[in-house]
């Protein structure tokens, strides 16, 4: 369990890091290292160079910024999980993230792991990618051709596959700030606290009189990327939970912890629980 030999560089600027990526096609970015180091130690990957971005200033902030209609929460790529977990800004303006944080791994891992790393890595069972999708957030990336912004809906493309280019660095994620109409729900089922979930569900909606609108459901652990069951979202917007459960069209695979049938069943259970959370906040 020792990694294959690799070179290590710790650039001080984003431009320097991007240049290094350009010069070394099989280099990897090192953020918190909580996912990357395990794959290196197990020799599942053997990059020739690690580009440690922890020395780059200004990538670790969590801030409320002005947005088009409401505010926007901007989370720098290097913000650690623990920072988000303890952030007043997150608690107030991104309650879905606040719900998800304690379920991500364990304190030691949350101390090192970064939100940017989690979104860049895009583990299909991870919480944050699903939250990003449920909140209709965005990803900021910077590469040799400059900066660009990618909508969550376009970002997750396949198993550990994202819209990030090989020479691009994720610099921040952006989420619409919650307002009084915002409703969120979060639930996951993991055999042990802190494990990647067998199946999980992150949800957001807006209160609409007595009902809900703009319901966005994002499942994790049931496919190659976080998945939105659009028909169920529509049914929930109509207030019909049974129809929402019946309309679930997930197609998970068996894995070590559960069969596809169990995952599907649990997805339905979670939908009822999360729907109840969304509705309860309505009062």
């Amino acid at each position: 369990m020792k990694p294959a030999p690799f070179a290590y560089k710790k650039p001080r600027t984003l431009d320097e890091a991007i240049a290094l990526l350009g010069e070394n096609p099989d280099a990897r970015i090192l953020a918190g290292g909580q996912s990357l180091m395990a794959t290196l130690n197990m020799r599942l990957s053997a990059p020739s160079l690690l580009i440690d971005i922890n020395g780059i200033e200004g990538l670790g902030e969590i801030a409320l910024k002005d947005g088009a209609q409401n505010g926007v929460i901007e989370i720098g790529a290097l913000a650690r999980h623990v920072q988000a977990e303890r952030s007043e800004t997150i608690a107030t303006h991104a309650p879905l993230i606040a719900c998800a944080m304690p379920t991500i791994a364990h304190p030691a891992i949350r101390t090192r792991g970064t939100l940017g790393g989690s979104i860049a890595f895009a583990d299909p069972a991870a919480e944050l990618p699903a939250c990003l999708l449920a909140l209709d957030g965005e990803v900021d990336a910077q590469g040799p051709k400059g900066k660009r912004t990618i909508k969550a809906g376009d970002y997750f493309q396949g198993l550990y596959e994202t819209a990030l280019g090989p020479q691009e660095i994720l610099t921040a994620i952006r989420l619409p700030a919650a307002n009084k109409d915002t409703r969120v729900g979060f639930a996951e089922l993991a055999r042990r606290h802190g494990d990647y979930a067998i199946v999980g569900l992150a949800a957001s909606a807006r209160a609409d009189g007595k009902g809900l609108k703009d319901v966005r459901l994002a499942y994790f652990g049931v496919g190659a990327t976080p998945l939105r069951p659009l028909k169920s979202e529509a049914a929930l917007s109509r207030g019909d939970i049974d129809a929402a459960v019946a309309a679930l069209d997930l197609d998970p695979h068996d894995d070590i912890q559960a069969t596809a049938a169990v995952k599907k069943h649990l997805a339905g259970v979670l939908l009822r629980r999360v729907a109840a959370q969304l509705m309860e906040q309505r009062a």
Binding site: A4, P5, L189, R191, Y196, T259, H265, V269
Partner: protein
């Protein structure tokens, strides 16, 4: 948390003034370990030390056609690349059989596979290099051509004529078979009012130690001596085995075992890669270090418990158990593990099933078969969790069938507390147990009636809680009956040497070992109490075959009961020797003196006569002032081995209270209780820690842990993310209670406590789950571990 009173109630020989027996004193090694100053094998670095990494077979069964090591030999830092054939010239193979397991057979096993790999993970080539990383780099350059052979993986078909035989010389895949038929089982079933049958499955799992297996071997050619630093439970056993297979004298081998980070039976076996490390050092004449990493641990540390048992119980309508019958099948990998064999676990299942109950009719069959998976052998509470699951599972299923309360059916069948000595149907001799007292204590402790009321009320609200029990007996303090009589050079006796230093402090050298359970605390307590000093005046030395008395080490819950008794007796003997010196110095009769709290005192009045420091000063530096012809002996050695009983059986009962989420199949453990009887309690805190830790391992078995293999013999979840060990958040509070029935075989009266928790927890949680789901008509769950998927299936939801 309930801790028994600090002072025992009735005065016994153990109640010396300032006795530590029965007191929850902290461990002497705690500060050192907590400050990170422990010395584990990985902390040891020797001059000229090299590191070995093993290339391991990716196939469950394959012929090794060729090995090309040229590129690897040129890799940076590489000292040597060694194949199995080359190492076979340095070390002889071994065969894991014992004569008292009649008919057991196995094939010769080599330090590194020769010609054929028999499980995924078996070492096929070794690279020795300056660093472990360099050795791993070079492993990737070794080119092996394999010819894949069919893998035998399913025990159910291992004996079919169509199934390939793994070791041709053995004729079939049967390692060991045992049959037992006592009383008249058929008649008993025929006369029963109800007969219940069920098939129980225990998932293959392993003991995950905080510290992986680790060894440094250092062959000193100038002295012709091998020094081995090893994380082992049994240094003297390993000394003997290293010598035997290197074909040198035992005296040429020294095994040093300092701190060990958990063992649970994992570190009491012969591992091919550790034997290879020793052989490599002999070959290369320099120190070689091997530390198993997590990934290789999962495919090489022994696995255990992979059993399928068909069970049957008969009862009358009054709840009298008429007979037990079991048919056990277990697959143990391609080799019976050396030297304890892989037949013991099944043998224990046969011995222990039905053990708590006075039922004369018992029939058992156990078959142990070879397969191409990692080897199985003894892990904490060997066989007990399986036998207890079958027995207690059947008892509660039978109770449900006749509509009797699960505690009541036990009351009607457990051996009566006044019926000892007694013997189980399988022939186990029981000195003195306390099943009924333990049950009564548990009944009160858990407020059983109250729990049932709560359970009923919650069911009406759709909340499904369950209460389950498991009575058990546990093998501890084994005599030579366990291994010695079968020809294994594994000693059941143990020794302690106690010496007074020149300032009046005590050092004890003991043959038992410390793996984190607090054995050193127990030794210090025993010797401090019997000699008469405070514990801070006692230093404990263990784990050095050059310097400690010959002993068995720590396994089978023997350290306190056997090692503790030797320490107690050695302390007493030294007290006698010291009082002889004191008598000579004070012109008093030694038997009118005593040692209390570090002082020689008048036995009757307690008045101080002499300090130990003064006595030591005179004995060591001014022996000329002692009477002519008097020789002070300030070191004493005593050994102890149980002789009156083959094993000191303990007993107890556990209870679990849990809630099943019937939508998700998730189980929430609400509370767990264990009342046990380990005889004299030397240190209640350490006993309770053993019980709690053991229960947690049992919880792992019943809810989380399983080594999953596919049909080609590939382990699917050999890492800490996919193999689920129990973790703190999911664990319930565990309350311990005690009944004390000392063994008369030793003065101390202590039996073992290390395995009781593990023995009973799986059965009791299984019973609680079934109790919770019974009103829903769920099929009883008997296939461990109980994953959410299995529970949902039993509920008909998937």
């Amino acid at each position: 948390m309930k801790i028994t009173a600090d002072t025992p109630s009735a005065l016994t020989a153990l109640d010396r003034p300032n006795s530590y027996i029965g007191r929850a004193v902290p461990r002497p090694n705690l500060q050192r370990l907590m400050q990170g100053r422990g010395q584990y094998v990985s902390d040891v670095t020797l001059p000229r030390m090299t590191h070995v990494a093993f290339l391991r077979s990716p196939h469950a069964h394959a012929r090794i056609v060729s090995i090309n090591t040229e590129a690897a030999k040129k890799s940076p830092g590489v000292v040597a690349v060694v194949t199995g054939a080359e190492l076979a010239k340095v070390m002889t193979p071994w065969v894991g059989v014992l004569t008292h397991l009649k008919g057991i057979k196995s094939a010769p096993q080599y330090p590194i596979a020769v010609d054929r790999a028999c499980w995924q993970g078996e070492a096929v080539c070794a690279v020795v290099a300056r660093t472990r990383a360099q050795a791993e780099d070079a492993c990737e350059l070794i080119d092996i051509v394999y010819e894949e052979l069919p893998a035998v993986t399913d025990p159910e078909t291992a004996l079919d004529p169509a199934t390939p035989v793994i070791h041709e010389a053995l004729d079939d895949n049967l390692c060991f078979e045992r049959k037992l038929d006592v009383g008249d089982v058929d008649k008993a079933f025929a006369n029963s009012d109800a007969v219940v049958e069920a098939t129980f499955v225990c998932g293959r799992h392993t003991g995950v130690c905080t510290e992986g297996r680790a060894i440094i071997a250092d062959w000193n050619a100038s002295e012709q001596r091998m020094t081995v630093y090893q994380a082992t439970q049994a240094p003297h056993m390993m000394q003997d085995l290293f010598a035997k297979h290197l074909d040198i004298e035992a005296g040429q081998v020294r095994v040093l075992t300092k701190d060990v980070g958990g063992s649970f039976g994992i570190k009491v076996h012969t591992y091919a890669d550790e034997m290879a490390t020793v052989a490599l050092s002999k070959l290369l004449k320099r120190p070689v270090k091997f530390v198993a990493d997590r990934i290789e641990s999962f495919v090489t540390d022994i696995h255990a418990r992979d059993h399928r048992i068909k069970g049957k119980i008969g009862v009358t309508k009054d709840g009298v158990i008429t007979a037990f019958e079991i048919d056990d099948l277990t697959g143990i990998g391609p080799y019976s593990v050396y030297p304890r064999t892989s037949g013991i676990e099944a043998n224990q299942v046969v011995n222990l099933t039905g053990g708590p109950y006075n039922c004369p009719n018992y029939r058992a069959q156990a078959r142990v078969v070879f397969q191409n998976k990692n080897v199985m052998c003894q892990y904490r509470a060997v066989g007990h969790p399986i036998a207890v699951a079958v027995t207690e599972g059947l008892v509660e299923l039978a109770a449900a069938k006749i509509g009797m309360d699960p505690l009541e059916i036990r009351r009607r069948n457990l051996f009566a507390d006044d019926s000892y000595p007694a013997q189980t149907a399988s022939g186990l001799k029981l000195e003195l147990l306390s099943h009924h007292a333990a049950l009564a204590q548990l009944d009160t402790m858990i407020n059983y009636a109250g729990l049932r009321t709560e359970q009923k009320a919650l069911r009406e609200k759709g909340i499904y809680r369950g209460i389950g029990f498991a009575s058990f007996i546990e093998v501890t303090n084994p005599s030579a009956a366990f291994y010695g009589v079968g020809g294994a050079r594994i000693t059941s006796q143990d020794g302690a040497t106690v010496k007074l230093d020149a300032q009046g402090a005590i050092t004890i050298h003991s043959g038992v070992t410390e793996q984190g359970q607090g054995a050193e605390a127990v030794l210090a307590q025993c010797v401090a109490s019997s000699f008469g000093v405070s514990m801070d005046r006692v230093r404990v030395v263990t784990g050095d075959t050059d310097n400690t008395p010959y002993g068995g080490g720590t396994w089978a819950s023997r350290a306190a009961g056997i090692g503790g008794e030797a320490a107690w007796q050695a302390g007493k003997a030294l007290r006698g020797n010291v009082l002889a010196v004191a008598g000579a110095m004070l012109q008093a009769k030694p038997d009118e003196l005593d040692i209390r709290d570090g002082l020689v005192v008048d036995k009757v009045t307690g008045a101080e006569r002499l300090t130990l420091a003064e006595l030591a000063r005179v004995a060591y530096f001014r022996p000329d002032t002692l009477p002519p012809g008097f020789q002070a002996e300030l070191m004493a050695t005593r050994h102890y081995v149980p002789r009156a009983w083959p094993f000191a059986f303990t007993n107890g009962i556990q209870a679990s209270y849990l809630e099943v989420d019937t939508d998700t199949g998730f189980v929430k453990l609400l509370r767990h209780w264990c009342v046990e009887d380990c005889g004299t309690i030397i240190n209640p805190q350490l006993v309770n820690e053993q019980i709690r830790g053991g229960v947690v391992q049992g919880i792992g078995a019943v809810l989380f842990e399983q080594c999953l293999y596919d049909e080609r013999g590939q382990m699917l979840n050999g890492n800490m993310a996919d193999y689920l060990v129990p973790m703190a958040v999911e664990m319930p509070d565990i309350d311990c209670g005690h009944v004390v029935s000392p063994t008369a075989d030793s003065e101390l009266g202590a039996k073992g406590a290390g395995e009781a928790g593990t023995a009973g927890a799986p059965a009791c949680i299984m019973n609680a789950i079934n109790d919770a789901l019974r009103p829903l008509g769920a099929t009883p769950l008997t296939d461990m571990p109980f994953t959410p998927g299995k529970i949902l299936k039993a509920l008909g939801k998937v």
